[in-house]
Symmetry: C3
């Protein structure tokens, strides 16, 4: 079998995804909250409506596409799509055979149109017979609980939530409404809001990394706080969030964590923060609202990152970061300073090729 | 539901944690192995003893708190706690209404007092009826085996150990006494000591990353060693430890690994090492005793890190590190040299703002 | 119990590994595809054949060992092994009592010999009674499906594949022949080739990290692509591979990913790429064939890495990398330039000890 060739390119393979529609231009424009512009060449729209979505290079005359990244602008000029969602700046690049939806937020509009055509699987109410549910658990009858899930004593799960296969929810955890907990998740010592999404394999609520040095070695310090996930939080696959040691570890409403992120005990994260894959935040550090932490960045403990600050990829943050600051590098510094340093060092090193060549060669061999 | 506001601040919510006590000052002092100093204003201690622990800002007159980090010293001066655990240096900052326990190890003392008030859940002896246990497995009758656990042929588990829900222990693995294995752990090809703690989702004993280049592509090299975890080892959530290829991968007694750590095949780690979250150690590297590897550091393979050496966060170690050395940076260098380099480069770059500005700006846009 | 001392050193403990043989020198030479050289001192080979493999320092006269790394050359001169596999360059270092197998690919030869002595556990055909298998799943009768595995609707699994305990394979996923899926794996929205190996805890096919900024916060963008794993792909423990958003995420045939790797949505990886532990590749980035990404490296999205390029450990790649280039550093630069920069900066900093000492000391305390 050649897996790579066995699938047509293009999104939303019907074997894997639900499909709705077709929808006419008016319905699509409404979902997109965008301004409709008919084809410049005056042709009629597809009589049965638009049937689906597709990337610019694959879309046909009854499909909808979008442009969000100027790297791909030439694809727009050559598309056969019947309808495209674009920003005003690209309106004049839309081919004449093609209708347009013009919006200042094309990616958001695309997202809503895509969801209209491909809704999420609804919760299939009921507890799978193989699940292990404590008699004191309070699970709303509209919830779906998957095979081999384990729901502990006094757990409470709100209406419409879905608990994936093999997920373990330990004693006394509460979840709000319309949550989607993937498979193989561990949740303990946690209070979870509404509409929270947790992807497979996330570990939430385990012991933080706390120990004291005793005469016979390290002694574990009891970790007596919880994890609090606000409404609309999303947690990536295999991400780990330790519970607090004394206070709680808090992920503020609307914040999104990618895969393989590490959140130490007592971290306080504000609203709508973004933490990209493989970043790590050490214990007791505070993120104010709307902070972005890029991939593989690391923050030491006990510092504060101001509102709307942005921490670059692989950045090593050892001290507080001011509100709205952009930092990168290890140790962290302003973006401009970092790239200036890089440029200056490059220039100096090039000036002295004779003197440094030999030592550089030597180091080279170490790798 | 607003999850963030639904919980009172403060540790050890009784829904989630066991609670013991109250305890009188003498019992607390004994657990803390600290010197008791009565309140300076001469007031009586709480008649019924101390009821629990709390952070300085929340503790009441029948609660115990502590100070370990001088950042929070003003909280001590304003606390309402009835008893505080502090180092001698802070003894004169203890408010007059407040008793004190003076010790050179306040964090250790706090840890023991906290454990006295909030003991761990004891093992609930017995195998859950949903667990899948091989007939040849030898599980001590005092062990707790959780729902859906899978225990393979010839596995041996010592007295008092707890195996979490969904944990898979493959054929012939042995565990010592009083181990705590969390949920969703995979253990294969491993020999585990006493009192070992493994947090959820850790993967221990799988194939190392070993392959040879053959004429048709890579060929897997059989990985024929084991993983050996010494007594009192602790392994974090979603951490991965590959088994040895020829020799064993060894984590020495008392060592502690945080979450999302990667340990390659044949790594030999000594006693009481610390490896913080998201650090990675490549194959066949040796850590002597008491080595600390900070978060997100990476070590190449086949090197040796000397006793008590400390490797800083995000450090990239490409060669041996001497005993007691402190290194940081990528490539690794002594702490002082690293920060000196940072300072010198900053000064040079600032001196030449005109010449470098344009190139810095250009690079800036790449992000 | 002292776990560290309870095991003899040496590979392939029979409690954990299958064992075959003994094999005579001819059979071993054939498996190794190497040239046999009898012992220089003329002694006879073991009459019953060679019984197993062992490292140079432990092997006896009826065992086989190998040398691949010149660091360990003195071990060869002192070995008691009866037969060693070595490259031509080491042929004259083989002790006189010892036969040799000479090959330009000693590691590959060793691998094949080791596999001959220690074959993989064959698939034990059958579905474990505790597994939860949808009636529409099409599982070849030669497959092994472990305890508590969950196989969804319309899943198809080819001949000879092994599905580990607790693994979840969601609706419509297809797997080819002779795959080995470890325990606790999650597979959804995926098409998997033949002979694919997935280690425990890998998460494959979950939602990518895609969201648009809406008026009330982030809105999830539907992720409508799949994950495609080519033939002979190997995926490490707790690694995460997100499915595509519009196109598919593709891992090309023969590529190998280590543990804790993150692959973002829409990544296109060519044939025989290597991605070492804790590296991360952001969305829509393209790796051509034979690319190597070393440990903890990070690549931003929407870039292209040329054929046979090598990205060093901890490297931060922000732009395209040419075919066959070797880059390292953050931001990425050619190997030689990186080590030259390091050397130049070190020299400059040493020249100015007086002026920089104070600032360096100050920074030092921040850690």
């Amino acid at each position: 079998m050649n897996a790579e060739n066995s699938l047509a390119a293009g999104p939303a393979n019907p074997r894997f995804f639900l499909r709705s529609g077709p929808f006419d231009a008016q319905a699509v424009a409404q979902a997109a909250q965008a301004t409709f512009v008919p084809p410049a060449d005056g042709r009629a729209l597809p009589a049965e409506g638009f049937k689906g979505i597709a990337p610019l290079q694959n879309a046909g005359s009854d499909e909808i596409s979008f442009l969000d990244n100027r790297r791909y602008a030439t694809l727009l000029e050559n598309t056969s799509a019947g309808l495209v969602i674009v920003a005003p700046a690209f309106a004049d690049k839309v081919p004449p055979h093609c209708a347009a939806l013009i919006t200042s937020e094309p990616y958001l509009a695309w997202s809503r149109v895509a969801r209209m055509f491909h809704p999420r699987h609804p919760a299939r109410a009921g507890v799978h017979p193989s699940a292990c549910v404590a008699s004191t658990a309070d699970i709303h009858p509209t919830c779906e609980v998957g095979p081999f899930a384990m729901i502990g004593e006094n757990v409470k799960i709100g209406a419409g939530s879905v608990i994936g296969a093999h997920t373990v929810i330990e004693q006394s955890v509460t979840l709000g409404e319309e949550c989607r907990i993937g498979s193989h998740v561990t949740l303990s010592h946690a209070v979870v809001g509404d509409r929270v999404i947790i992807l497979p394999g996330a570990r939430i609520g385990q012991d933080g990394f706390g120990f004291a040095v005793g005469p016979q070695g390290f002694e574990t310090v009891p970790q007596l706080g919880l994890v609090v996930l606000g409404n609309d939080v999303e947690i990536g696959a295999n991400t780990t969030i330790d519970r607090g040691s004394v206070n709680n570890t808090v992920i503020g409403a609307g914040s999104r964590l990618d895969n393989l992120v590490q959140i130490g005990h007592n971290v306080q994260m504000g609203r709508c923060c973004i933490v990209v894959a493989q970043a790590g935040i050490s214990g007791s550090t505070i993120l104010e609202d709307f902070v972005t932490i890029a991939a593989q960045a690391g923050l030491i403990g006990h510092i504060r990152i101001g509102e709307k600050a942005r921490v670059g990829a692989q950045c090593g943050v050892m001290s507080d970061v001011k509100s709205k600051a952009d930092v990168i590098g290890s140790p962290a510094m302003p973006f401009k300073e970092f790239f200036q340093n890089v440029a200056v060092l490059r220039r100096i090193a090039k000036k002295k090729p004779g003197s440094s060549e030999s030592s550089a060669d030597k180091d080279d061999k170490k790798d």
